[in-house]
């Protein structure tokens, strides 16, 4: 009756592929919208037309990217229902609200104004057009806010309570849901990361022009603004990454243990593994390079707080499984006789660990008769894959610092007005473009793989969440998505490349000292 392991795995693969793919486009939308707003602000304040050309040019690239972001977002809005049926039932009362509010408050704003942003240049005054651009930026950022409130709930459920009569989580405090500290740090971390990605994108494209000595004036101004934008955004990402980690020590210790590949609880302050080769099977690091003390200090912001290691967490999980079993049994009794007050009392006493009993059900369908070996298996399952999470996290951090260093140099060179002479640096900027994309994806992998085996941490295990589809359906849909998405990305990269080669709407070769003339005069003249 339950979804088989293969179906659950295929559903997870499909979700992972579609969400990681969606997230190739979303950060550029979020970040570039803000950067374009800043550029257009300069245009409105100074009246220099080159800044309008810049806003239009980056806007053109924005639109190519935006289309795919919107298209792949459609999948996400419905995939909870199509593939995670029980999850949707179980958390819909809480989780559906931020998703709906995202549509009401953010997505409508962004999508309605994006049309005016591109087609309204002639029909709107400068001030009004600037307002429209800011609304697009605000809308895309608010989108991220509500999605991350929803995700924050999965990571650190707060503001909800399991209702035994409807067998689902029900909202108990809306304020706790939206002011969830996990959602807060995630939101700022994610949007700032999006700004960084957009900044690298603009730097890379500008560098490409500078290397070819095309559209130099436009490219140098863009490079300058993006460098500064990226510098501050990188600082914000790192600060918030730190804040996220600090929060997670208390909220999701298994994720932290996996991120740091900490098998044993060390004496505080714990060391920090810079490089490690953890083995899940042997439950130890085959090799590691670590620095003493730093890890504990960074994660707990204190000298005397230990970070629990994997073995300690498994022992805790074992206790919670045993504590959760009576809650699940009481719940089953309540399903049969809703008026059973004894069962209700038992349920209330043990409800905080009921998720662990759900987890055990995978290995012992009748939890009342679970053997110690089955409990042990479930307890070991509460630790996410240490190698995957460790490396996703560490690469993300190393890449993040690389980009910070890049922006320090970029800002310096741009302020010295020497960036166009340093061809090695321009070439580096170009190659750096892959880095932010990898980094944001690694961030998702850290957050989501680190939460396993749960969809809602500590409450609803992943295996129970999936829809009961057949394997054939899953293979069909997975193949369809992969095929369709592959075609899309080929087209999008092709068009993006073409738009970049074509360049802004000013005449190539001639440059922007002639900008006093409207651009169409230039184009008409060269045609």
């Amino acid at each position: 009756m339950e979804p088989t392991q293969l179906v659950v795995d295929l559903s997870r693969w499909q979700f992972a592929i579609t969400v990681l793919y969606h997230f190739l486009f979303v950060p550029l939308t979020i970040g570039l919208a803000v950067l374009i707003a800043a550029i257009e602000t300069v245009y409105v304040v100074t009246g220099r037309e080159i800044f309008r050309d810049m806003a239009k040019f980056w806007g053109k690239l924005f639109l190519i990217n935006f289309a795919l972001g919107v298209a792949t977002g459609l999948t996400m809005e419905f995939q909870f229902g199509t593939n995670w049926s029980f999850y949707s039932y179980f958390v819909g009362d809480v989780f559906g609200a931020p998703l709906a509010i995202e549509g009401l408050m953010a997505f409508f704003l962004e999508s309605t104004f994006v049309g005016l942003m591109f087609f309204g240049w002639d029909r709107l005054s400068r001030g009004k057009h600037l307002f429209v651009t800011y609304m697009v930026a605000l809308g895309s950022n608010l989108s991220a806010l509500w999605i991350l409130i929803a995700n924050g709930f999965m990571q650190a459920p707060s503001g909800a309570r399991l209702d035994p009569f409807t067998m689902r989580l029900q909202l108990s405090s809306f304020a706790n849901l939206i002011f969830n500290p996990d959602a807060q740090t995630k939101f700022v971390h994610t949007t700032a990361a999006s700004y960084v990605l957009a900044a690298v994108f603009v730097c890379a494209v500008s560098a490409w022009y500078l290397l070819r000595k095309r559209h130099v004036e436009l490219a140098r101004r863009s490079f300058r603004m993006a460098a500064i934008f990226g510098l501050f955004a990188s600082l914000a990402v790192i600060t918030l990454g730190d804040a996220s980690g600090f929060k997670d020590v208390g909220v999701q210790p298994p994720k932290i243990a996996a991120m740091e590949a900490m098998w044993h609880t060390e004496k505080a302050p714990a060391g920090l593994n810079l490089i490690a080769f953890p083995s899940s099977r042997e439950q130890k690091n085959l090799w590691s390079l670590s620095v003493p003390w730093i890890g504990g200090m960074m994660l707990t912001h204190a000298f005397d707080k230990p970070i629990p290691g994997v073995f300690e967490l498994e022992a805790q999980a074992r206790r919670r499984i045993y504590n959760g079993i009576p809650a699940l049994l009481a719940l089953e009794r309540l399903q049969k006789t809703p008026g059973d007050n004894r069962a209700l009392t038992t349920f209330r006493q043990h409800e905080k660990d009921i998720g662990y009993a759900f987890l055990l059900q995978r290995y012992a369908p009748n939890v009342a008769k679970a053997t110690p070996a089955q409990v042990e298996r479930a307890a070991r399952k509460t630790i996410p894959s240490v190698p995957v999470v460790f490396w996703a996290f560490h690469l993300m951090v190393y890449f993040g610092f690389t980009m910070l260093a890049f922006f320090v140099l970029a800002t310096m060179f741009s302020l010295m007005r020497s960036e166009y002479r340093r061809r090695w640096f321009l070439r580096l900027s170009l190659w750096l473009l892959v880095l932010p994309y990898l980094t944001v994806e690694l961030g998702w992998i850290t957050a989501e793989m680190g939460r396993q085996p749960w969809t809602v941490y500590g409450i609803l295990p992943t295996w129970l969440s999936a829809s009961t589809h057949s394997v054939a359906y899953m293979i069909f849909s997975l193949a369809g998505f992969i095929g369709l998405y592959t075609v899309f990305i080929v087209i999008e990269i092709y068009l993006m490349r073409r738009a970049i080669i074509e360049g802004p709407a000013t005449a190539p070769g001639k440059d922007d000292n002639t900008q006093a003339l409207p651009t169409f005069v230039l184009k008409g003249g060269s045609a």
């Binding site: 803000v34 939206i178 500290p181 939101f187 700022v188 949007t191 101004r221 300058r224 007005r417």
Partner: protein, 70 residues
């Protein structure tokens, strides 16, 4: 001062008070959301300033007859 002007100032004043109250509430309940509001506005302003600074630098350099491309 005319009545309409007075009303306008009163309106702006009310808006400022509202913003202050909002900031106070937000910073208490949601320090990171508050940080985002302040931080993003700041990043946009600094970025815009960097763009304007470029214009100034270009003018000054142009006065000295330097052409970056040659």
């Amino acid at each position: 001062m005319t009545t309409s002007e007075l009303l306008r100032y009163a309106g702006w004043f009310a808006l400022a008070l509202l913003a202050l109250a909002g900031a106070a509430i937000l910073s208490y309940w949601a320090p990171w959301y508050f940080a985002w509001v302040v931080g993003t506005v700041m990043i946009i302003l600094i970025t815009a300033f960097a763009g304007a600074l470029y214009e100034r630098q270009a003018r000054e350099q142009g006065a000295h007859g330097e052409d970056p491309l040659k």
